[in-house]
Symmetry: C2
Subunit: 209 residues, 2 copies
DNA sequence: ATCAAGTCTGAAACTTGTTCTAGATTAGCG
DNA sequence: CGCTAATCTAGAACAAGTTTCAGACTTGAT
């Protein structure tokens, strides 16, 4: 039994370029997804509703995004691009790299606080994603890494710095989850971010090596 | 409309003590859960199957564990207790606190590698859990904190040390997820753990303050 | 031992993610 | 234009988590 090649059209450098109407459909779907998510979070994004809101048949929705998690992760990619653009315009002002990274992440955090339900939907999808969504989740991860490296002001990071960035991302995701599930306060998240950002300082004094 | 008080019997210091048969039921359920999880991970733990395997009616299963996520988080609590016991017997041998913590987490990681599907089920449940599972997730978190503090050999940690531990836990959870979803290798997880554990060293030299 | 309250069972029903199907539409091409 | 393959639609069907309910069984107190 051949496993029907089920291609995720939303994969970034998509194989066949989308027609105009298809691009429009994709936009409508992502918009509906974000809208519903903004209301009630992960649970409120119901595939039938997304389909209806975006004027698309359920089957079509599934052709564009092979699962709810795919859809929400794509929604996150979308939002992340916005965010990266916004952040680029006003770079963080901190003295040290770790300050700038912490400032950047806190800025992103405040943006998420404005739409906590949307944040819930996206982050839950991200961490719940299984292997079938790996490419998309990886893309989100790369984007996040790029944002952090931007804040550090680095063009070619050392391995030690990349490790620090990885750990910062881990902390960022996990801290968001504890906040979203009400187990950590905003202040606590701030502390966690600031704490992990000190790791960057450990990678700075590399002249002694 | 009164929100029917739906008490999770599995909550640790349970309100009414369970009878023997109830305790036995609870054990059977957790055992079946772990067994099914060991096979196919999160998806393989199907409530109907758990009920059947543990010789309990579906409704009863839901009385003991109000959702699949509750069940899996309870399963994790159970496993964590084992683990803590095991770890206590052979304390880590490292010189510094950060080495001992890294060693302890790597030991736990190797245990998880032996049952990757079970790990998948438990960790996915943990990060997917919403507010209704907060108490149970918190309990898991406290247990994890205890394990790490044990490894550090601390009785009363400073706030800075607690922050470091929080970040280590964040990294631990998130690194596990990237490993489970195939986006990070075992080696990568090792590096991440070792990297974050250096944070502990930053809290050591407190005599100069 | 007996009664009331609480618990367990088996089965059906409901919800929402996902798949499938048959027929209409659209896109690209000669 | 007219054809063919791909895409889209509406709607049914299926799967698994969750809820509900009537009746049988236990438990604890009298």
């Amino acid at each position: 039994m051949p496993v029907e090649a089920k291609v995720d059209i939303s994969a970034r450098p998509a194989s066949p370029p989308l027609t105009e109407r298809q691009e429009a459909r994709r936009r409508r779907i992502l918009h509906a997804s974000a809208q519903l998510a903004s209301r009630g979070g992960f649970d409120a994004v119901q595939m039938r509703e997304v389909a209806e809101s975006s004027q698309v048949a359920l089957g079509t929705l599934y052709r564009y995004f092979p699962s709810k998690v795919h859809l929400l992760v794509a929604t996150m990619q979308d939002q992340l691009e916005h965010m990266h653009g916004t952040l680029r315009k006003k770079p963080p002002a901190g003295e040290t790299a770790s300050e700038r990274v912490a400032e950047t992440l806190m800025r992103a955090f405040r943006a998420l606080q404005r739409e906590p339900h949307l944040a819930d939907a996206m982050v839950r999808a991200l961490t719940f994603a299984d292997r079938s969504v790996s490419p998309e989740v990886d893309q989100v991860s790369r984007q996040t890494t790029a944002i952090i490296l931007d804040a550090m002001g680095l063009t070619d990071p050392t391995p030690a710095q990349l490790s620090a960035v990885r750990v910062i991302e881990h902390t960022w995701h996990s801290a968001l989850i504890t906040w979203l599930s009400g187990r950590a306060s905003i202040a606590q998240v701030k502390i966690d971010i600031e704490t992990v950002c000190r790791l960057i300082d450990l990678t700075e004094p590399d002249e002694k090596k």
